[in-house]
């Protein structure tokens, strides 16, 4: 009984620690960690990608991104198809975040501030790389007492909205199974890049 209580205590402590960070701090913290990784690696390596992913995974709720993208399409699918789509799409989000974000490395970030509305928040940033800049907006939500990223807008491209449009277009002429094939092919393409 004593052991169980101490376990609960540690969990609560962890939760309150996480909650103690504002959305801006969550982003700043994770971005700094990513910049540190970039600083310590000259070239993009598998190890570096893995380290970046660990950081992104800890602050991103891929489950919510997936759910918000696919929920309207799930209405016309069987439960099994929907579950499978969710699983494969989350896998794509994870794999692509490792590969694509790794390619768009930044040297520094400028934080334009945070806008908190209850359990939702928007953190606006500008990422700098050499002479180039990115407008990077993080959409966060308070989930289980921690601020988690639930969407990204990069240079005006809303991630969930873009995927929704692509899914809508594909599912107009193709079956859910064909959509799954496209997603799996894309995951494979990313993995092949990995092996190359």
């Amino acid at each position: 009984m004593k052991r169980i209580n101490s376990g609960i205590l540690i969990l609560l402590l962890g939760a309150s620690l996480s909650n103690s960070q504002t959305p801006l701090e969550v982003i700043k913290d994770s971005n700094q960690k990513i910049l540190d990784i970039y600083a310590s690696h000259q070239d993009i390596s598998r190890e570096m990608e893995e380290a970046i992913f660990q950081i992104m995974d800890s602050v991103t709720d891929f489950n919510t991104i997936s759910l918000r993208t696919i929920e309207r399409f799930c209405r016309k699918m069987s439960e099994m198809e929907c579950r499978e789509l969710d699983r494969v799409f989350q896998e794509l989000l994870r794999v692509s975040s490792i590969k694509k974000v790794g390619r768009y490395r930044a040297e520094r970030f400028e934080y334009l501030g945070e806008d908190i509305d209850g359990t939702r928040a928007l953190v606006k940033t500008i990422a700098y790389y050499e002479d180039d800049t990115y407008e990077l907006d993080y959409h966060l939500e308070l989930i289980d007492n921690a601020w988690k990223i639930v969407n990204y807008t990069a240079d005006g491209v809303d991630t969930i909205r873009n995927y929704r449009k692509q899914f809508q277009k594909i599912l107009r002429k193709e079956s859910p199974a064909q959509l799954l094939t496209r997603l799996e092919n894309k995951i494979q393409e990313f993995r092949n890049e990995e092996s190359e």
């Binding site: 694509k100 390619r103 990069a154 240079d155 491209v157 873009n162 107009r172 079956s175 092919n185």
Partner: protein
């Protein structure tokens, strides 16, 4: 049969006696009677139009015939100009246009776009499905340039080449609308084009050929005068070049066949003077047969075009047999008796052999596919006329030949021929078995029309420059003709609904409504344009490096939409020229473009099935176009082909049975034929040679040619009291010579540039070799085995 025998003998004897008495009268009479045939043969035309292969009741062929004038078969010519000096280039194009417009074969000449009209309406003139494609493309670009998204739209199961082709088409379209120019020209303005619509479609080959020559002449003159590069292109060129390739193939194959046959004959007879005696009756028979072609079937089609060469190879056998026998008889008999004996023995065999070859060919006439039926009719008919010529003209000319010293008595060269060892027979039997396995597992039908066309040397430079001025698919795969705007709208509605289905093979449609949309589509277009503009507002577009894409993005973003669409009456004539009936009747055209390969048969069948399944208004006419024609040809060939082969085989079986009146004897007789055909198909399967709509006709033809070997061998073996060595000694030479001369007729086709005809040559030669192998190697082994078994049973 028994009554026919004496009757035939009496006729043969009568002709021979009369011919030997008055050979010159017979000779002149036959020549005079043949004069009308000389006139008839000048009327023969080659028709490479594929609709020619379809029956009258075929929807694709009947629409093609009915609507040809209205749609001009979608054919056009272009002249491409290239030069560095813009003013010089424009002067060249203006002067060329003035000259081309004067040509009576030309309906319209365009080299300018209605600039003001297009400038005013711009993106509103892009049909909704293209706008949707542009929107999809923008979404793809967004996904590509964002670090958090992935482009899923481009990664379909389509080949990379197809995706690239579609994207290029979209780029060209956007390039055109964002860099409007008055002239038909490339992006840099160095290459300019002229679009020429002729009055006549390709069906009028003479008019097309004449216009092509005139355009070429004008283009060359312009090139010299203005010191610029010019070339004539367009859809009509491809048709013309294919036609010319077939004509060149015909000449080449004919020369090869004639030369090789001459060589064989010179080796066989060791005499030049014997050649006229051999060729005279054969030539007369072919002349009579082909003079009837314009009357009976109007013209030669793609498949029957080479029959003259093939029949020459087949028919020369009859002359060889008769002359050899006559020379032999002359050794011991006076000419008249020698002639009578020749015709009563060898003459009868030749007639029977000819009939067994002709019957399977005549069976082909039951086919709806004219490639089969006319091949059978002309082929079978020509064999009959050749036999008639041998009977009527042959005897008198043999006598004349003998009197003039062209034909001399001669004994055949008899060399000891050894029977093939049983091991060889077993080997061939194993090969036949393996051939059966290969046939059942590997034999395929080639549905790809790209593999059957003429290998025309591609004018790469012209194709490349043409592509920079004009889009790649300007001719629709199928066209509907609509009497009024209401019917056009109703037809567009049902076709577009079908196009929206997931399994649709329709990529897009083209009609006057592209430029004058109705209210509903105008709203849809404006909505799409607004959505595209909205997506392009994001700063992600800064990342695009391609200046072309950046240019059209900027142009589209800043374009102020016109909110009212043009009406049909507002459209400039240059825009409507290809979308209205070409007979000035005011009817509308609706072109349908596929999203599948145009020349792949299976895809053509799916596309056509889709079109035929659309419930179009009763006033609409069509569809007419190349894909429905391809599809109907394949439906006919694949559905009738197996039946035709089965019927022919049954016919051959019946004929053999009538001859020997024994079921068992019939079975043994057809063994070499069946084995040879199986071996042929097996070798084809293993070597990757596929059946196609051209060469399927050779299988029944092989049956007609190949059955002779079995008939002769089995009959002679029985006649010689089952003496295998003697039978083989006697028949090896004649059967080999027959196979060789027949092959010579086909061998020229192997060198044809037209791939379909080339495959006929390959399969025929292969088939004849295989049947020779099964007749002269396998058959002796089988007959020996039967003989041994029978002897053992009798001894027991």
């Amino acid at each position: 049969m028994n009554k026919i025998g004496p009757a035939l003998s009496n006729i043969l004897r009568g002709v021979c006696i009369s011919s030997s008495k008055h050979p010159f009268i017979w000779f002149i009479a036959v020549l005079v009677l043949s004069l009308p045939a000389l006139y008839g043969i000048t009327k023969i035309r080659l028709n490479t139009d594929l609709t020619r292969l379809l029956p009258d009741h075929s929807p694709a062929a009947s629409w093609a015939r009915k609507l040809r004038k209205i749609t001009s078969e979608g054919g056009y010519f272009t002249i491409i100009f290239e030069g560095l000096n813009r003013e010089n280039l424009m002067a060249a194009i203006e002067s060329t246009a003035a000259e081309v417009e004067q040509l009576e074969e030309v309906r319209s000449v365009d080299f300018k776009y209605p600039y003001d009209f297009i400038q005013y309406y711009r993106y509103l003139l892009i049909p909704d499905y293209y706008l949707e494609k542009i929107f999809d493309y923008v979404i793809s670009l967004e996904a590509e340039y964002s670090p958090f998204t992935t482009d899923l739209l481009s990664s379909s199961e389509e080949t990379e080449a197809k995706v690239e082709e579609d994207r290029q088409e979209l780029h060209n379209l956007l390039d055109y609308y964002s860099n409007l120019s008055e002239y038909h020209q490339s992006r840099d303005g160095r290459i300019m084009g002229m679009f020429i619509r002729p009055h006549e479609g390709f069906t009028n080959i003479d008019a097309t050929q004449s216009l092509y020559s005139k355009l070429n002449h004008i283009a060359e003159k312009t090139s010299q005068e203005y010191r610029i590069w010019t070339a004539v292109g367009g859809s009509q060129i491809n048709n013309l070049r294919e036609y010319n390739v077939i004509k060149a193939d015909l000449r080449r194959s004919g020369i090869i066949a004639l030369t090789t046959i001459l060589i064989v004959l010179l080796i066989s007879f060791r005499s030049v003077t014997a050649l006229p005696v051999l060729f005279y009756p054969l030539g007369l028979g072919l002349l009579w047969a082909f003079s009837l072609v314009p009357v009976v079937v109007r013209d030669l089609n793609m498949i029957t075009s080479f029959l003259l060469v093939i029949l020459f190879g087949m028919g020369i056998d009859y002359s060889i047999h008769l002359l050899k026998r006559f020379q032999l008889e002359l050794l011991s008999k006076p000419p008249r008796q020698a002639l009578i004996d020749t015709y009563l023995s060898t003459g009868r065999s030749v007639i029977i052999s000819g009939l067994t070859t002709a019957l399977p060919l005549f069976l082909l006439t039951i086919s709806d596919f004219r490639g089969f039926s006319e091949f059978g009719l002309i082929g079978g008919g020509a064999i009959i006329t050749m036999l008639l010529a041998m009977l009527i003209a042959g005897p008198s000319f043999l006598i004349i030949g003998e009197r003039m010293g062209m034909v001399k008595p001669k004994a055949p060269d008899i060399k000891k021929k050894r029977l093939p060892p049983n091991f060889f027979s077993i080997l061939v039997a194993i090969l036949v078995f393996l051939g059966l396995v290969a046939t059942l597992t590997l034999l395929r039908f080639d549905y790809d029309f790209r593999n059957l066309g003429a290998r025309v040397p591609e004018q790469k430079e012209l194709v490349k420059k043409h592509g920079q001025v004009y889009s790649r698919s300007m001719s629709p795969a199928a066209i509907y003709v609509l009497p009024d705007l209401e019917t056009l709208d109703a037809t567009l509605d049902v076709v577009k609904k079908r196009m929206d289905q997931a399994d649709s093979t329709i990529a897009r449609v083209a009609s006057i409504r592209d430029f004058a949309p109705d209210d509903k589509e105008t709203i849809e277009r404006l909505e799409f344009i607004d959505q595209i503009k909205e997506e392009l507002q994001g700063s992600w577009t800064r990342r695009i490096e391609d200046p072309q894409i950046l240019h059209w993005i900027e142009d589209l973003k800043t374009w102020e939409s016109v909110r009212v669409q043009p009406g049909v009456a507002d459209l400039p004539q240059t825009l409507t020229a290809g979308l209205m009936a070409q007979d000035d009747s005011g009817r509308f055209l609706l072109g349908v473009y596929p999203n599948v390969s145009r020349r792949h048969g299976k895809e053509a069948m799916v596309f056509t099935e889709e079109l035929y399944g659309i419930d179009i208004p009763p006033e609409a006419q069509g569809p007419v176009g190349e894909m429905p024609i391809f599809a109907e040809i394949l439906w006919l060939v694949t559905s009738e082909g197996p039946w035709i082969v089965a019927f022919t085989f049954l016919g051959v079986l019946c004929l053999v049975f009538l001859g020997c009146r024994s079921f068992i004897d019939t079975l043994w007789t057809v063994i070499p034929l069946v084995g040879g055909i199986i071996l042929t198909l097996g070798v084809m399967s293993v070597s990757g040679l596929k059946l196609n709509f051209f060469n399927v006709v050779i299988i029944p033809a092989l049956m007609g040619m190949g059955i002779d070997h079995g008939v002769h061998y089995y009959r002679r073996w029985k006649e010689l009291d089952k003496n295998m060595a003697k039978t083989h000694q006697e028949l090896l030479g004649p059967l080999s010579t027959c196979t060789a001369t027949t092959m010579m007729g086909y061998i020229g086709l192997i060198f044809a540039n037209q791939a379909g005809l080339q495959s006929i040559g390959k399969i025929a030669c292969l088939g004849l070799c295989c049947i020779w192998l099964t007749s002269l190697i396998l058959m002796p082994g089988i007959l020996n085995t039967i003989n041994r078994k029978t002897s053992t049973d009798t001894a027991k």
